[in-house]
């Protein structure tokens, strides 16, 4: 078996509309080991979401390769991609994560039902996961009855319940206050480490980076810098170096 769960080689995405050519992602090679949680940071428009979209097979790359557990996924049709997403990927979006007419527990179970692995014992796991995320009171609440932060925690539970190899999150804490955001990322990080999954989280908030194992900074579609000791980020706080890493948003 490959020593990486996720491995990309020279992954690129170019958007062409009329005369305009945008190199959203250019020649990105990154590796994520089992149990490794990576933060993807960088200014707006640097290609972070585009990167996640390609890793989740939501977007086709222009060139380059992606390997999951050593298996390339290049020639998948629409149906195979959907199957791949529901089996191998857990995704937390920025918002609109939940099905509005399903309760918290039903939203998490949805992933089990999609994978046809729903059973009472699996449902028990879904409930335990929600409890662990501090949602005891919200198990049977509809999304409209929950705060944004509670909804995001349900989404995180949903992205983990079906035992995916790769867990992706696009600014999952954008709508949370700092305190809440830290708690959520902490639990998220624990769940990725415990089960030896590969996790990638896009964030604008560098304070979230102390819960990850590695920070990758993207600028203009390429990897600009890799910080292997994210704890150092706190040291950088307040310096111009810190500001360059991040974006004006939230800070």
């Amino acid at each position: 078996m490959d020593r990486y769960i996720l491995n990309t080689i020279d992954l690129s995405k170019t958007y062409r509309s009329n005369e305009l050519v945008v190199h959203a992602v250019s020649k990105v090679s990154l590796q994520v080991k089992p149990g490794e949680f990576i933060a993807l940071v960088g200014p707006s428009g640097s290609g972070k979401t585009t990167m996640l979209a390609m890793l989740a097979t939501l977007l086709e790359s222009t060139s380059g390769h992606i390997y999951i557990d050593g298996e390339p996924f290049d020639d998948m049709n629409q149906k195979q991609r959907a199957k791949f997403r529901r089996e191998k990927i857990g995704f937390t979006f920025q918002d609109n994560n939940l099905v509005p007419y399903l309760t918290a527990i039903e939203n998490v179970e949805l992933m089990l039902r999609l994978n046809k692995i729903y059973s009472t014992s699996e449902a028990k796991r879904a409930k335990d996961l929600l409890l662990r995320l501090g949602l005891d009171e919200q198990i049977n609440s509809l999304p409209s009855q929950m705060s944004k932060g509670q909804q995001q925690r349900v989404a995180i539970a949903r992205s983990l319940i079906h035992d995916p190899r790769v867990v992706l999150a696009d600014e999952p804490t954008a709508s949370l206050d700092t305190q809440r955001a830290k708690q959520v990322v902490q639990i998220f990080s624990d769940l990725i480490h415990e089960e030896k999954r590969a996790g990638i989280m896009v964030t604008h908030d560098l304070r979230m980076c102390k819960y990850v194992d590695k920070v990758i900074q993207m600028v203009d579609g390429s990897i600009n810098r890799i910080i292997d000791e994210p704890a150092d980020i706190d040291v950088l706080a307040g310096t111009s170096e810190f500001d360059k890493l991040s974006t004006p948003a939230l800070l």
Binding site: T50, A82, F93, N96, L102, L114, L142, R158
Partner: protein
């Protein structure tokens, strides 16, 4: 899975979907009533002819199969009975009289039909006895006449008929009651031909005969599989006659096809409106749900599931609406007075309901297409 999702969604938005089901129910009521009215009017028009124990009707030529314009000599009827291939034939003569319903109340129009007892054209009694030639002052009335005047077998009824310039009243004894035999929107009274000629309204009160001029001859064939052969045989042997089957005969009645055409147009438009309303509603639903559908696809819901959910939702909501509408229609119909011509036959109700259930998915086609086309990438706001 699709059923699970659509039930959850309908249940959690039950007020909205219930109200929309009521719209479908109202459309169903409208369509079912239009169909019932069409059936009822048609029945009122054709009931007598449709129930004839005969396959063919003989008319005078060039009257466009109009029973009232057609005039046939009694001799032609006698000749018809001798034609090979004819099992039996009966003379029919139509007229209108008024029947007295109650003292001091306006008499009501009825069809006054002269027939020969025990020949095609004479209906069978369901109460009392079939019509006989003697005594002369007896009548067989149909169920709707009996309902109208509250007459029973053995009762005397009074008809009012214009003889020359005077209105005359005649009493007839009811010896039998037949099932519904309405003709040309009127309840019917059947008498023997000679009684008919004597009592029917006419210019000269003294000219009547036991062998009067008829309107049409009802023909019962020996072999009902080769009617066209018999048709040409009759027209070859008898001068100046045209022969047609029963259905063509009542469809040729004045106003019949126009009336049915109008009602069918109304029904067609109601179906069209229904299709557009259902289509519009579900399209708005889908438009509101585009981000959610994108998200479902992004987490790996197959396209098939998304479409199946949309379809099953339309089917569930339409089915519910049509069931309520059908029940409401029958409840409403039960409260209608019996002279309102709204009839429901199993086949017309079944056809209507199936069509109503099909217009839902037809109207929702566009919204299903829209759901199908949502890109999973929309979940990322890209």
């Amino acid at each position: 899975m699709a059923i699970y999702l659509s039930f959850k969604e309908i249940w959690r938005n039950r007020t909205k979907y219930f109200l929309f089901s009521l719209v479908i129910a109202l459309i169903s009521v409208l369509v079912l009533f239009t169909a019932g009215l069409g059936e009822g009017l048609a029945t009122n028009n054709k009931e007598y002819l449709e129930k004839l124990d005969a396959q063919l009707l003989v008319f005078q030529t060039d009257v466009s199969f109009s029973t009232i314009e057609s005039r046939l000599d009694y001799k032609k009827y006698k000749r018809a009975r001798r034609i090979d291939g004819i099992a039996d034939a009966g003379p029919i003569a139509f007229s209108n009289v008024k029947v007295v319903v109650k003292q001091d109340e306006e008499p009501v129009d009825v069809s006054f039909i002269g027939v020969e007892p025990d020949r095609p054209g004479a209906p069978k009694a369901i109460f009392g006895t079939d019509l006989r030639s003697y005594p002369s002052k007896i009548a067989l009335i149909d169920q709707s006449t009996a309902d109208l005047i509250g007459a029973q077998v053995g009762d005397k009824i009074t008809i009012k008929s214009t003889q020359g310039t005077e209105d005359k009243l005649y009493d007839l004894t009811v010896t039998g009651i037949a099932g519904g035999q309405r003709y040309f929107f009127r309840p019917s009274i059947f008498v023997s031909l000679s009684t008919w000629d004597k009592y029917r309204p006419k210019a000269d009160p003294d000219s009547y005969s036991t062998q009067p001029v008829l309107n049409v001859i009802a023909v019962k064939a020996k072999n009902s599989t080769n009617l066209s052969y018999l048709e040409s045989a009759i027209t070859n042997i008898i001068d100046d006659v045209e022969v047609t089957d029963i259905q063509t005969a009542y469809e040729s009645a004045p106003g019949y096809s126009e009336q049915q055409g109008t009602l069918n147009t109304i029904k067609g438009f109601t179906f069209l409106i229904g299709t557009l309303v259902i289509g519009g509603f579900f399209q708005i639903q889908i438009l509101q749900k585009l981000p959610q559908i994108g998200m479902l696809k992004a987490i790996g819901a197959p396209n098939r599931l998304v479409s199946a959910t949309a379809i099953s939702q339309i089917v569930i909501v339409s089915l519910f609406g049509v069931i309520i509408g059908t029940l409401a229609t029958f409840a409403l119909a039960a409260t209608l007075p019996s002279n309102v011509p709204v009839y429901f036959t199993t086949s017309s109700v079944a056809v209507t309901i199936v069509t109503l259930l099909l217009i839902g998915p037809a109207g929702g086609m566009l919204s299903i297409r829209m759901a199908h086309k949502v890109e999973p990438l929309t979940a990322l706001d890209m």
